[in-house]
């Protein structure tokens, strides 16, 4: 799965994107965030305040209970501030 990071999340993780294979126990967006958080300290720093993390799967906003099964691209970012 292609994983994109934006803004502060991108800065803390230190990458704009990477490819990550979904572990078999990861079903939802929430599971995936927990997986990343447990993986490495930089993810923990960037993502542990889950209220402040928004998710888009294949370019649509989704909730944290969204099932990732068919997702090709997941984007992880802080609340948007355009306009």
């Amino acid at each position: 799965m292609r994983v994109l990071y934006f803004a502060k999340v991108r800065e803390i993780i230190g990458l704009p994107e990477e490819n990550i294979d979904l572990p078999s126990n990861v079903q939802t967006v929430e599971d995936f965030l927990d997986y990343l958080i447990s993986k490495e300290n930089k993810y923990d720093l960037a993502l542990s305040n889950k209220e402040a993390i928004h998710i888009a799967c294949d370019e649509d906003h989704v909730d944290k209970d969204f099932i990732l099964k068919n997702t090709k691209e997941i984007a992880i970012f802080p609340p948007v501030t355009g306009g």
Binding site: F6, K8, E59, A75, T81, G82
Partner: protein, 139 residues
Amino acid sequence: MITVKIQKKQFNPQKILINAEKDKKYGALVSFIGSVREETNNGKVKKLFIEHYKNMAEKIIYKTALNAEKKWNLDYCYIIHRYGSLKAGESIVMVITCSKHRKEAYAANQYIIDWLKINAPFWKKEIFENKSKWVEQTL
């Protein structure tokens, strides 16, 4: 008629307005221009950096314009949003909506900006003399 543009380079609000006036059919035109403020609560802004998620931004803005066009029976709808590095005073976003009567043009214009602020994947970072800070969402 809907036009959505997301671009790095500066745009010219006057030219965009001239084109809107040529292309529109109806009586009421509302436009909104949002630009980089020179002062914020954090001090004097040197630059504003705007990061975006290109494909998703285009998709969401276009969908928002379509919804507005349908709901308020717009005759013309133009949305442009910049990304990259902007100086104080430069325009960030411009939204033009045209309709037969003014109420529809105002309502559609505000709807588009409100929706874009909440949903379109852009992130602003204010660059000051000695520090920089990601802007927090205020609704």
